[in-house]
């Protein structure tokens, strides 16, 4: 069965600083990987996805993620964060069953 681990439950960072949100997955089959963002009182929105091809994936709002098969990781990065990036971020994976499994989430708080 697919499992997704987000290593940090909370990440505080100052505005304009870089940030990395960590995600590891476990799978013995081909996997597709996603990052979603959830703003307060909202549903989840897709930030970016890895299906195949280039291991560096660019998404919306200046975010990018790198798929690392040897380390089974899919960390999310942004070189300079804004106050508006404050939200909860979820890593997700789907395998052969096409069932989306989410990590526990990382609360990113951008401080002025």
């Amino acid at each position: 069965a697919q499992s997704v681990t987000q290593l940090d439950s909370q990440v505080p960072v100052f505005e304009e600083a870089p940030v990395e949100l960590r995600c590891n997955y476990s799978s013995s089959v081909s996997v597709y990987l996603f990052w979603y963002v959830q703003y307060p009182n909202q549903g989840l929105q897709l930030l970016l996805k890895y299906l195949s091809g280039s291991t560096l994936v660019k998404g919306i709002n200046g975010f990018e993620a790198e798929f690392n098969k040897s380390q089974t990781s899919f960390h999310l990065r942004k070189p300079s964060v804004h106050i508006s990036d404050t939200a909860e971020y979820f890593c997700a994976a789907t395998g052969s069953a096409r069932q989306l499994t989410f990590g526990s989430g990382t609360q990113l708080t951008v401080l002025p």
């Binding site: 997700a92 789907t94 990590g103």
Partner: protein, 114 residues
């Protein structure tokens, strides 16, 4: 602008009452998911359907929860009888046939059982 629509957005009910949550998936999507989100458990998959057929509802308490898709434009999640521990935000999401697991989420139904 295509989106997943969930009703109601908020529901407060008394313990023991029946609760029905509705979801209208995006037109053309053939996969529908129901998730429950709580502070303690995070996002839990309750059930999912493909082409209106239930594929997995192992995450759903069978004695009180039921999920159905009466037609391609409507998915329902029912709780009968409701209990305070069912208080949570329930999300519906839908996915198109050709995408591998990507899901588009509704705004959620915030359920409070008192």
């Amino acid at each position: 602008d295509a989106r997943v629509t969930q009703t109601p957005r908020h529901k407060v009910t008394e313990m023991g009452q029946e609760v029905t949550m509705r979801c209208q998936p995006i037109l053309g999507h053939n996969t529908v998911f129901w998730y429950r989100q709580t502070m303690m458990q995070g996002l839990e998959l309750l059930a999912y359907f493909r082409n209106r057929a239930p594929l997995d509802d192992s995450g759903m308490p069978k004695d009180r929860f039921s999920a159905e898709m009466p037609d391609a434009t409507l998915a329902t999640l029912k709780i009968q009888p409701s209990e305070p521990r069912d208080s949570a935000v329930y999300f519906c999401a839908s996915g198109p046939p050709h995408l591998q697991g990507e899901a588009f989420f509704g705004q959620g139904t915030r359920l409070t059982v008192v």
